[in-house]
Symmetry: C2
Subunit: 214 residues, 2 copies
């Protein structure tokens, strides 16, 4: 398999964690987002959206969208499972994952932040406030759920890492780059630390990738 | 079951289509988003995010996040299936669904449009351009995939409606309210029309709901 991705992309990071948890080897192909390589002809031929990541299977199938890839990997190789056993539990885990993947990440994506500057004419300070606003609104709700719902364990659901943790960790890492205050979210911080103690999460981190920059 | 939702919310609309396709009866509970009822204490007790929809099962379980609910309904009652049979096909359908649910809808959600006005100080014209920009960028990519990929049939995947159609139709309907030009997307328009010919899609439409306003 080949993973077409970028070290700092949090959606790429999700897929790297899933591949590592599953113990699946892959070739790492990098596209530099800040240089616009994801909008070059070579990448658009793989993925018309021009968004990373894309997983290319050994048979040449091209799979876009990080969460679709993670669900695919979980079906392809069910052990260790990234979703729990019952429909209600799976709905909980997916809802926690989507709270990050639908309600935080897309609004704070690079191209949206760039639109605030051009054409809207705002500066980096407004970009930063925008980013932190959506993280704060959603992390407050997520913290409440993770703290109060009985399904939470060492990880977002129970005592094994899964789909929700795979979305949460890159969002926490991304938030740090924009100076998000994590003080109000002790449960999110605790789960993040538990994840980072697992080699699959640590090895998937942006700074460990071949295209990493400081 | 109870569906806590709003007639015009496109995420609510997704769940209504899924419930109708599955033939599942439910009580309709309305929250008026423009009046902020989704941020009132009654709704926040059901859903700390303050976002519709929430599905409440007969046992009292509370399920947030439209796509988590649709996957749950598909597991609870597999007939008719909303996802195809193989992992690769399921990945395709989920990736088409997420192209709408992650990359268009969240960026154009009501609260994001409101943030453009307050605090950012823009007017309705900028809101409209913002909305149409993200629809145009993503519908162009989606049109290309749906036109070129062999998996497309009468619907987004094959000849039965599924998860991708459930996301696409409310996005098309939403786009019309913001005067999105649909001319460049003949395949999307064709699939939308095929869906609207199915009673489950037609009955789930905003204007058919008890809280509908003109």
């Amino acid at each position: 398999m080949k993973l077409h991705n970028y070290f700092r992309s949090s959606t790429s990071y999700r897929v790297r964690i899933a591949l590592a948890l599953k113990g699946l080897a892959y070739d790492y192909v990098a596209y530099h987002l800040r240089k616009g390589e994801q909008r070059g002809a070579a990448y658009l031929a793989l993925n018309p959206q021009g968004l990373v990541p894309t997983l290319q299977t050994d048979d040449g199938a091209l799979l876009p969208q990080s969460l679709a890839i993670v669900e695919y990997l979980d079906e392809l190789q069910p052990d260790p499972p990234l979703l729990p056993a019952t429909p209600l539990e799976r709905a909980r885990v997916r809802s926690l994952a989507y709270a990050v993947a639908c309600d935080i990440h897309p609004v704070n994506n690079l191209r949206v932040l760039q639109y605030l500057v051009d054409p809207l004419g705002h500066d980096a300070a407004v970009q930063g406030e925008w980013f932190r606003h959506w993280v704060a609104v959603e992390f407050a709700a997520l913290e409440k759920r993770l703290t109060e719902e009985p399904g939470t364990g060492r990880f977002c659901h129970g005592d094994s890492p899964g789909l929700a943790d795979i979305c949460l960790v890159p969002q926490v890492v991304n938030g740090r780059r924009f100076d998000c205050d994590m003080t109000p979210y002790p449960t999110i911080r605790r789960i993040h630390e538990a994840c980072m103690a697992i080699p699959a999460f640590a090895e998937a981190a942006p700074e460990r990738q071949p295209d990493a920059e400081t």
